[in-house]
Each structure stands twice: as C-alpha cells, then as structure tokens.
C-alpha cells in the first residue's frame, strides 16, 4: 500500500495552538487536623472511579516540584474526588499543605500499586500511626465490609495528632487509642495496645500502616504470636510506575519494588532496618532545603 501526502503548509512555529488538555486536580476542600496535618479533597474523577483500598497516587506541586507518593485515604464517586492526608515534614509536603481551596495540584497520577487483598479471615487487628492512619482507613473499611471483626489501634505522640477517629469508629468493632504522653486514650506505645488485644482474643490477621519504625516493632510483636501481618510501605519514589527503583526494599531477601509489587507486603519478610536507612537517603539535604524554604517564606 502506498500513502500519498502532497500538501504541506508552512506555519510560524511560535504560534503554538494545541496545548494538551490538562486534568484539573482542583482542591475542593481543605481541613487542618492539626498544625502539621492537612486533609485535601481534590477533583480527580478517573482516579476516584478506579481506585481501591491500598492504592496510592504520585503528586507534584509546582513546575519545579518533586514527585511524592501519597496513599489515597478515600474517594467520593459522585463528586469525582479523592482525599489525601498530608503531614508537613519538608519542602514538598509544606508546598502541598500550603495550597488552598480552588488551587490546582500541578500533577496527580494514579491509582498506583496493588490494592489490598481483602478477604474474610475472622478477626483483623489494624494499627495505624501518625498519618499512616489515613491510608489505613479504606483498608479497615474494606475488611469490615468483607465481614471481618475489625479492631483498630490508633497511635500518636499526643492527642492532637490522633486523626480520623470518628471514621475509624464507624468501620471498626472497637477502637483503641494510644498516646505516648497519655494525653488521650491510654498512655503507651502502639504495641502495648496491640498486645492487650492479642492476649485477650484470637487474631487472624494484622494490618499495619505508619512510620517504618512503628511497623517494625508491630511486626516483631505479631511475629512473637505467629500472626500473619501485612504492612503498607511508604518509601521514596520518583516515577512511581516501576521504572526507577528508588522504592526498592528487601522482602524475603529479594529486591521488590514498592510501587508495582506493593505497597503491601508480608511484614514478616520485610527488612525494615534497610527500609529506614533508605528513607533517610536525603535527610541532610532535605533538612537544609526545608530550613531555607521556611526562612524564605517568613521573609516574603
């Protein structure tokens, strides 16, 4: 077959009419859980429709921003929105938390990762620490819906950092709150709350989401009682689509990619020490960048 094209037009290149159609990612709701923890609800209809418990998105703020993974805390199909909960820890999260209702997030892509494997197992013991409670919510919701008895332990340093308690109560048979300083719930670590339940009744599955160090100790505890445990890992990522390998972790002695093989893994197989090490890859430069960001923001 021969294709014939014999017409060419010459155009002035500087005229650039076709800009690709951008997705909106407009923020429709913002709520401060605490000074450092912000909830953003944003328009992302395609993601809202296809996301499942356990999925995450990659977000970029500003044309010079970096790409970071954030687990989806919930979605509203009718409104076409997804909910993200962000803790201000550095330049990128601070920029994102600084956005207001009506602003658009530069880039949002997802849903990424494998969804949580939801099944009926009996009793599920869920634990969440810090903003890890946000991605835990849809997981708790799904296990409850699947007919499990769900006991949820929420842990934080202090009362004002306990988030989503009401929503958790809605989908859990019991919620136990633990604070380091005893300002709310019981005083003590997340593991103390968990052990109390484990000693009291049979637990068929443990699920944990939170800081790596918390998940490490939760896993040590559940290992002592031979309880199958799933941990949702939040590592550094760049593309988030299985290309760069920044998110690699050792699971059962093998390299796994959190973005495409996870984010959830058999916690007993995860090398948490290595994961924590890798999470700190850019600590010195990040701290420096955050300080200069904060001081330049104060000046302006």
């Amino acid at each position: 077959m021969v294709f014939i094209f014999d017409f060419y037009t010459t155009v002035n290149f500087s005229a650039n009419p076709n800009i690709s159609f951008l997705s909106m990612n407009k923020i429709v709701e913002k709520e401060y859980f605490s000074e450092a923890v912000v909830k953003l609800v944003l328009e992302a209809p395609a993601i809202a429709k296809s996301r499942k418990a356990g999925h995450f998105v990659i977000v970029r703020t500003g044309q010079k921003g970096e790409r970071i993974p954030l687990t989806i805390a919930g979605s509203d199909l009718d409104k076409g929105t997804i909910t993200l909960i962000i803790q201000k820890v550095g330049v990128t999260s601070a920029k994102l938390c600084g956005l207001e209702v009506g602003d658009e997030v530069t880039d949002v892509v997802g849903p990424l990762g494998k969804p949580t494997h939801i099944k009926k197992v009996g009793t599920v013991l869920a634990s969440g620490g810090g903003v890890g409670v946000a991605p835990l919510l849809p997981i708790v919701e799904a296990f409850k819906k699947a007919g499990n008895r769900v006991i949820t332990v929420l842990a934080a340093r202090t009362k004002e950092l306990i988030i989503l308690e009401e929503q958790m109560r809605l989908h859990s048979d019991e919620v136990i709150i633990m604070t380091d300083d005893g300002s709310y719930g019981k005083k003590g670590l997340v593991t103390q709350g968990l052990e109390e339940v484990i000693e009291r009744e049979k637990v068929d599955l443990a699920v944990t989401v939170g800081p790596a160090v918390m998940m490490k100790y939760v896993t040590l505890l559940t290992g002592k009682y031979d309880i199958p445990t799933e941990a949702s890992l939040n590592t550094l990522m760049v593309d988030g689509t299985g290309m760069c390998g920044a998110c690699r972790v050792s699971v059962g002695g093998k390299i796994k990619f959190v973005c495409v093989d996870g984010p959830e893994f058999d916690a007993h197989q995860v090398d948490f020490d290595e994961m924590m090490l890798r999470l700190g890859s850019y600590k010195p430069s990040e701290a420096e960048a955050y300080e200069s960001y904060l001081s330049s923001n104060l000046k302006s």
């Binding site: 010459t10 790409r67 880039d107």
Partner: protein, 503 residues
C-alpha cells in the same frame, strides 16, 4: 506528478513498488541536473566532514550539547559526497525507511526546507534521530562508501540533524497537512519513540490519535533517559509540537490499566491501541550491600537529573552527586550515567564493565566521547560487594578482575572471574546500569495478554499485533531493551498494520 510517498515499513511486500517509485524520483530533473554538475570521481575524493564539538575539558563541566552541528558549508560539502546511487542501499539500512538520497540531494541543492519535508515523510522525529540513532550500524553501514569503496560513509546522521535543526531554527516548520480525517479514535499507550512514531503515521492517515503518558512530561525515554548533552529536551518538545499541530492529542498523568482500563477507553470510542509502555524495572545484580544509600539504578539517576532537574538547586528533587562515582555496565545508558556524574562534579567517574571494550554494547561515538571527557574505564572488572559508612552511605566496593573465555550465546566472549584478584576500592556513589525488564503495568492489567516468560509482550513480528484483538505493541515492551530508532520502526509498522486492521 508532485506526489511524495511514505515508504511503508513492510519493505518486502512493497519492494517492487518502492524501488520503482525511488527510481522515478531519481529521474526528476533537479536530481539529474545535480548529478550532471559533478563527476563521481570528484565526489569520492572529498573528505568526510567531522562534527564540531565542545572541547572535552569544557563540556564535561556543563550540560550543553557535546556536538554543535554542521555549518551550511559543511553540510553542502558532505551532501556532495553522496553519489545518489541507482540502488540506494542506505534506505534499507534505515528502520523508518527515510528517502535518504533525496533529502541529501536537497541539501546539495541548498534547498534545506524542502529537505526537511523529505525527512518528515517517514520520520516523525528527525532532530531526535539525527542525534541518537546508531547510524554507523544502520544507514551509514549500508552506504556505498562503506560497502564498496571502503571509505568513511556519507555522514547521513549529521546531515539529518543539520536539516532538522535548520528547520527548527528557521521558524518555518512544515506541518504535513492531513487531506482527510476519518474520525476513528486510536490510542498510543506511552509517549516514547514508538508511540510518537505511531502517532505521526496514524494522524497522517486521518485517525483521531490520543497519546497517553504516565509521567508529567511527554517524550518517555527521550526526556527521562537521554541526557541534555546528547539530546536537549527542548529539541524533543519542538518535534512533539509538530505532532500537536497535526492534531495529535496528548494526555499526561494517565496510566492506561490504572487510571482507566482499555475496556474503559473502548467505551469512550477507542477502536485500537498501540502499547509502547517501554522498559521498566531496573535490573540489579543481587550482590550484598546493593541497597545502601548512594546506589542508584541508571534509570533513577538519569530520571532525577534529566526529568526532575535535580542538578539545578531551584528544583526540589535531590540527587547524590558523589566525588568517586562507579557506573556498572557498558551500554549507552551506562555512558550517559557516567558522563552525567562527571558533569555533576565527580573527581573520578568510572565505568566498571566485566568484558573488554570490544564487547561493549555502547556506541563507539559515546565511548570515544566518554574517554575524551576523562571517564576511567575499568574493563574486565566486576563488582562483588558494597560497603557502607556508619550512616549507611556506600563508601567502598569489592571488585574482581575478569578475563575473556569462549564466546557465549550472545556471540561475545564470556567473562571469567580470576580467582584471588579481588580488591577494594573507594566509591561514594554507584550507578547500576545492567539492563531493564519490561514495564509490568500493562501486562498486569490485561490478563489475557500473551507475554513471554520475562514479561515482554508477544506480537506477530510482521504486524506488531498482540494476542489481544486490536492491541498492538512495539519498542522496549516487546524487545526488552533496544534503541530509539528500532522502537520508532515498530511504531510505524504497528501504524500500518493497525490501518489495515481497521479499514
């Protein structure tokens, strides 16, 4: 007849038709006149031009392009060397079948804008191909000079780049006009070289083409993989812009198989798909210490620098730029990574490769450029283990010397470890560049898709049609790891087959 022709990629089927067409073109008055101007003997004594380039010790400290491009005089001189052969073997050496003698003779004539149109008949990305194609094993390998005269071939690649750049700088980009739009919706999954070549052909055939891209930038490996000093992103953007002006739509931040499924897109009216989702998962060597801080895959290292601008303090993405950098591997990506590390301020940038320089898969030009820039080549060496400081940052590595044995399945001599030759060397950054595995996202989301044991999509090599009706595939997701131009060839082949499938 003023018609120009898109040489179809299925050369066998159309051989007769194509060669007749090329003959007819060759007999055009302007070509006859040019041939009459100068005897072949005069042409063959001319010396091949050499590409002007930045001085090595200057360029290894900046990200500007190494090659600065031919001048008009150089280009016309080089064009005169082309004999405008009766049987232009160069064309069969080109995966996208550019009408090479015609575009070169337009240069000899001084009609550069016309020459650009010839390139664009079959090549959606001439400025890219002029820079990154391995011409020495394709068109230039098949050139009459190489084959019969045993002289340096016509610098086809340099000339292609010259013309593409001339057109870009002229402000008079030609945009092929689409005679008829059929309104049939088709999609490319991925905006890398195979997807862009596919889009370029399908839009010319009148289809309503949408290109879906997972990242926030269009261009795939052309943007995240190939460094600025070899292929500036702005050059890629200009070529993409031409596709936009032809009517190709681009959807960024959209992962087919995740954001929406192929089924969802079918409901939206898409009739056929071309999967060009590229290579994904970086390979590691699974040796102790490989996950210490400061050890990157080449994909990550290059993505941070090329796509995320990590070297620019204005940008938020960080990159560890060490003083003693070891890059493991001998491919083009390894060369890109090691030359990038030098530009980021490394004192020592080293290639560690287990075979000898003769077996290196990288282009000779890239190896040569790297050597000039002060890259150290530790050939016949293989890493065994990494060691870290108290903060978990890599600080040393154990390396073993190798020797070459008999050829293996790849035809290259097998590297054999030399017992007792291990030694420790200091490094503070390591980039592992030992290949990639196909991106798993599409195969994971389409269970009925037939994939090979290591994850590449199986296709009919004639049509690039996968096991799923209406789903075609090309580039690294099929080949596992190849070049920009081979991916583009796949995209063109898929476009032709998809057109046959749809009409």
């Amino acid at each position: 007849m003023k018609a120009t022709l898109v040489v179809t990629s299925n050369l066998k089927k159309n051989m007769q038709e194509v060669s007749e067409y090329l003959k007819m073109e060759r007999e055009a008055g302007w070509r006859l006149a040019l041939r009459g101007n100068m005897k072949n003997k005069e042409r063959t004594v001319l010396k091949r031009v050499s590409m002007p380039e930045q001085a090595p010790q200057e360029r290894n400290r900046n990200f500007l392009e190494v090659n600065s491009g031919l001048s008009e005089e150089q280009a016309r001189h080089e064009a005169q060397r082309c004999l405008d052969c009766v049987n232009p073997t160069c064309i069969s050496g080109c995966p996208v079948s550019i009408n090479i003698p015609k575009f070169i003779k337009r240069i000899e004539e001084g009609n550069f804008l016309e020459s650009a149109k010839v390139l664009k008949e079959t090549n959606a990305l001439p400025a890219v191909c002029g820079r990154v194609c391995p011409q020495e094993v394709q068109c230039e390998q098949s050139c009459f000079y190489t084959q019969k005269l045993k002289k340096p071939p016509v610098a086809i690649g340099h000339l292609e780049r010259f013309i593409a750049d001339f057109e870009q700088n002229s402000g008079q980009m030609s945009v092929p006009e689409i005679p008829h739009r059929n309104g049939i919706k088709v999609a490319s999954i991925g905006s890398g070289p195979s997807g862009l070549a596919f889009a370029g052909d399908m839009i010319k055939l009148g289809y309503d083409v949408t290109v879906f891209e997972a990242l926030h930038e269009i261009g795939g490996v052309l943007k995240y993989g190939i460094p600025e000093f070899r292929l500036p992103n702005q050059i890629v953007d200009v070529e993409i812009d031409v596709l936009k002006q032809m009517g190709v739509k681009f959807e960024k931040n959209f992962i087919v198989g995740a954001t929406a499924s192929i089924e969802d897109l079918k409901e939206e009216g898409f009739k056929a798909f071309m999967v060009g989702s590229g290579a994904g998962l970086p390979n590691f060597m699974n040796i102790p210490g490989e996950n210490y801080i400061g050890i990157y895959s080449s994909n990550e290292y290059l993505t941070r620098v090329n796509l995320m601008n990590a070297a620019d303090p204005e940008y938020d993405t960080p990159v560890i730029s060490g003083k003693k950098v070891a890059v493991i591997g001998g491919g083009n990506t390894a060369m890109d990574a090691v030359r990038t590390s030098k530009r980021l301020g490394a004192e020592r940038s080293m290639i560690i490769y287990r075979r000898s320089i003769e077996e290196m898969p990288a282009r000779v030009e890239e190896i040569h450029h790297a050597q000039e820039e002060g890259i150290e080549f530790m050939n016949l060496h293989n890493p065994l283990e990494y060691y870290a400081d108290k903060n978990g940052r890599v600080c040393k590595m154990k390396v073993q010397k190798m020797k070459l044995g008999e050829p293996d399945a790849s035809g290259r001599r097998r590297p054999i470890p030399i017992e007792g030759s291990e030694f420790i060397m200091e490094v503070d950054t390591v980039v592992v560049s030992v290949g990639v595995s196909p991106n798993p996202l599409i195969p994971q989301s389409m269970k009925e898709l037939d994939v090979s044991s290591w994850g590449t999509i199986k296709v009919n090599p004639e049509t690039m049609h996968s096991s799923v009706e209406g789903v075609f595939a090309g580039g690294d997701i099929v080949r596992g790891g190849a070049t920009v131009i081979l991916a583009m060839g796949d995209g063109r082949k898929a476009a032709e087959a998809m057109n046959n499938y749809l009409i």
